[in-house]
């Protein structure tokens, strides 16, 4: 029986369910001490003086002067310091680090910091400091707008979203000697161990040997993509100065206040349509609040802009995006990475276009949906693995959408739909520049996968092993997966962008094919016994047909796309304006499901996060910091908040993916919010922002 396509036993073993799986805070080292971050209490200004109001004996204290390399987190830019030197740009910005072996003394240490404060900028619409501008142009949108029968305008807003991985950020930095040189090993909850390596090499200069080992990670969702470089750098600084292992685990409040969140957005649409429903022009303006430092904002903006026109064909498109500075903690990667924001906007806008035309919104989508052979906003010609119509028709059929929408008129129940897509893998030439590698090693009993791809709950260990097992033709049980330790595994690129199964899985497939040739009919055990170990390493080769112009932002943005259509059925309480989701039907096409149960888990989990984004999750900012930074006050869905989920997995294989697989991790995130808001529209509620809280809905209703 092949492994691929079956819900085989997972490579994680049973440790997660017995409590034996080792997360960062479960691990201790001899002589380990604890670290704490002293953070700014102003949003903008300068540090004037620092005074220690505690007995400093026994403490390790680190500030920016302890940095031997460069005090910047090396990501896209190098603008963000590990530790404030003088200028403070956001609340909770790290200024100092303390370490001590007694946690009570550590937490009791009072540090008095005097600041010169300046007036902070919190409103992105008033910010003039632009991190990145993007322009996507196709045809002549201005002319086409002028010639349209009708122009529909609208502005749509999305707020911050906090990841709420149930395991907060945490790392342990352990000094170690490598070949006589003093180095450090970082054990931690990370999605991208090699990102941390890159950041620490800049922080320390190349000199100390550094390795990063991923511990069992309790959720990431992008919140542990780039942020861990910061906490790892802090722990490493303390470890190297004290000579002791240093553990830093954030408590929930610190994690929520200080670490990255989803970029808030304001998206303006002006769409030209003809009376028959054809969309002839799309003019879109995208503004994203990047926070105080660049981090990943340019790429979030990029993906957001590329998806901003939705899964629709249109010959004349102008998308202008910018991401700007504000004096708030920097925003960063979060599942979907810009697309949930812009696809929310376009799908609600489509509903309004249908209303303006007096046309059925399913019919409007049907008419304009991308089909194989159509070109996207960046001019990419879509191929056979394009499934917009397939998912739309299935969702409409399965939910009896048209008839039931009619039936619900005049009740307090609404039915809404959203059509969406999500490019898998890095944008454009991204996969090419990553130069991702994977390695397969022969072992006495089978093979070992050695990549930097991390298991964060999505099933990396399992799906990679399934692919290798079938590609190599050996039993699934004989494939083991190495724990990501940067000193021991190949750099397969970050575990992000819905690429881990599709892209890294493909490299592993190539490795397996090469190994199969070299084994030449022997089993791994036979070969190992006779010839000993060997390993095979391959690099990712994007499909040769991909052409992308980074300067003009034109061409093949992604090798393939996943497609989805969500239908949300909701009920609004007439007295309290609370929205009760009754059922959510998620039809998603993502090529071949390598492990059906894991794939379903991605859809169900991503849908839950999308529902939270739509209805519950509101970050309240006060004075530039999150005021509701407890799980009591920032609420994610509980069991009782979740509706019935009806998941349909459809398949339209991507030939370039391993066994026809496409990326899936982020796709489910793009649909729930517009589906829910479109259900509210169906009830006559003109909601154009999320979260659609009861307070917002109350203000949308006719005055009582």
């Amino acid at each position: 029986m092949p492994a691929v396509g079956n819900s085989v036993a997972r490579k994680d073993g049973i440790g997660k369910a017995t409590g034996s799986a080792q997360y960062a805070d479960d691990i201790t080292f001899p002589g380990m001490i604890f670290g704490r971050t002293i953070r700014s209490t102003i949003a903008r200004g300068r540090v004037r003086s620092i005074r220690f109001d505690f007995e400093t004996a026994g403490f390790t204290i680190v500030d920016y002067r302890d940095v031997i390399g460069r005090n910047s987190v090396d990501l896209i830019e190098k603008d963000q310091p590990f530790l404030v030197e003088s200028e403070v740009r956001h609340m909770a910005e790290p200024i100092l680090l303390l370490a001590h072996e007694d946690r009570e003394r550590l937490n009791a240490a009072r540090v008095e910091i005097e600041y010169e404060t300046e007036t902070p900028l919190f409103d992105p619409e008033h910010s003039t400091e632009v991190f990145k501008k993007i322009g996507i142009a196709k045809g002549d949108a201005a002319a086409a707008l002028a010639g349209a029968d009708l122009v529909v305008e609208g502005t749509y807003r999305t707020g911050h979203q906090e990841h709420v991985y149930i395991e907060p950020n945490g790392v342990i930095a352990v000094p170690e000697e490598v070949e006589g040189r003093k180095g450090v090993a970082i054990f931690g909850s990370v999605q991208c161990p090699f990102y941390v390596i890159k950041a620490l090499r800049c922080l320390f200069g190349s000199h100390p040997p550094i390795r990063v080992i991923q511990t069992e990670t309790g959720g990431g969702f992008g919140g542990k993509e780039e942020y861990p470089s910061m906490i790892a750098g802090h722990a490493a600084l303390l470890a190297l100065k004290s000579g002791r292992p240093v553990k830093i685990i954030y408590d929930r409040t610190e994690d929520m206040v200080a670490t990255t969140k989803r970029h808030p957005s304001i998206v303006r649409h002006r769409t030209g349509v003809m009376r028959d429903g054809r969309i002839v022009a799309m003019d879109i303006d995208v503004l994203m609040d990047g926070g105080a430092y660049v981090t990943l904002s340019p790429v979030v903006l990029s993906r957001g802009c590329i998806h901003a026109a939705g899964p629709y064909r249109c010959d004349n498109v102008s998308i202008r995006g910018r991401t700007v500075f504000t004096n708030t903690p920097p925003n960063g990667a979060f599942r979907g990475f810009g697309a949930p924001q812009t696809e929310f906007a376009v799908e609600v806008h489509m509903e309004r276009i249908a209303e303006a035309l007096g046309m059925d919104s399913v019919e409007l989508r049907r008419l304009n949906a991308l089909r194989p052979g159509d070109t996207t906003a960046t001019g990419q010609t879509l191929r056979e693995d394009t499934s917009a119509l397939m998912v739309l028709e299935e969702a409409v059929r399965r939910t009896d959408f048209t008839r039931r929408r009619e039936q619900y008129k005049g009740t307090n129940r609404g039915l809404g739909l959203a059509l969406f897509y999500h490019g898998a893998g890095f944008t454009g030439s991204g996969e090419l520049s990553l130069k991702s590698r994977a390695r397969l090693e022969l072992t006495p009993a089978g093979v070992r996968i050695a990549t930097g791809s991390t298991e964060i709950g999505q099933g990396t260990r399992t799906t990679h092993a399934q692919i290798v097992s079938d590609a190599l033709g050996i039993p699934y049980e004989d494939v083991e997966v190495a724990q990501p330790d940067t000193a021991r595994v190949a750099d397969s690129g970050p575990t992000v962008a819905s690429r881990t199964c599709m892209v890294v899985g493909k490299i592993l497939e190539k490795c397996a094919h090469e190994m199969k040739e070299r084994l030449n009919g022997s089993s791994p055990a036979e070969h190992y016994a006779k010839h000993g170990a060997f390993s095979v390493e391959q690099m990712y080769e994007p499909p040769d047909w991909i052409k992308w112009d980074d300067a003009a932002y034109r061409g093949d943005a992604y090798a393939t796309y996943g497609w989805g259509c969500d239908v949300a059925e909701i009920e609004v309480d007439r007295d309290t304006y609370e929205v009760r989701p009754l059922k959510l039907t998620a039809v998603q096409e993502f090529g071949r499901p390598i492990h059906p149960a894991l794939a379903q888990g991605q859809i169900e989990g991503g849908t839950a996060q999308g529902l939270g984004y739509a209805l519950l999750e509101r970050v309240v900012m006060r004075d530039g910091a999150m005021a509701n930074s407890q799980l009591t006050n920032y609420v994610i869905p509980t069991t009782l908040d979740m509706p019935e989920l009806d998941v349909v997995m459809m398949e339209n294989q991507y030939p370039g993916g391993p066994f026809g697989a496409k990326g899936l991790g982020e796709l489910p995130m793009d649909g729930p919010a517009p589906a829910v808001v479109n259900a509210l529209r169906h009830l006559g509620l003109d909601v154009r922002e999320i979260p659609a809280t009861p307070e917002l809905i109350a203000s949308c209703t006719a005055l009582a």
Partner: protein, 152 residues
């Protein structure tokens, strides 16, 4: 002080106001019980005290004198619910899983889907959307899972 920990009479030395969660993880070396929030909101720290699921991050050690405390380790490593959580993908990243299992294990013999949802309403999961957790728990009790959704 003395408590019955996972069926064994155990002497523990710690401050009486120490959180039970910390005593379990540190003094007792049982790191299966997790801290997700420290406010009693996420349920990752759930243990049984005298058969009842509680948040161990809210319990002062003084209150478990002579009590029967069961943690995830008390279920061993071969409990059917543990296998079901892995096989049904009720556990993805796994950090909520010990607490989720301890809340579920207190369920009666024939729970409906609603019973399961209510029993787990104090346990947050960010990965699964809960459906697979319902499937795992209902299967454990031999109850029908059709209403808990299934893939096409």
């Amino acid at each position: 002080m003395n408590l019955v920990l996972n069926g064994v009479s155990t002497d523990v030395e710690a401050h009486p106001m120490a959180r039970l969660l910390d005593v379990l993880r540190e003094e007792c070396g049982l790191t299966g019980t997790k801290e997700g929030c420290g406010e009693g909101e996420c349920g990752a720290c759930t243990v049984l005290i005298n058969g009842e699921p509680v948040c161990s991050c809210l319990i002062p050690l003084a209150q478990v004198e002579k009590a029967e405390v069961v943690t995830i380790e008390g279920l061993g490593d071969d409990h059917p619910l543990q296998h079901l959580f892995m096989n049904e993908v009720g556990a993805q990243c796994g950090i909520c899983t010990p607490g989720m299992i301890m809340a579920a294990v207190a369920l009666g013999p024939a729970p409906t889907l609603d019973d399961v949802k209510i029993a787990l309403a104090g346990n947050l999961c960010r990965c699964t959307g809960y459906s697979a957790i319902y499937r795992a728990v209902l299967k454990w009790r031999g109850m029908p899972v059709a209403s808990a959704g299934g893939a096409q």
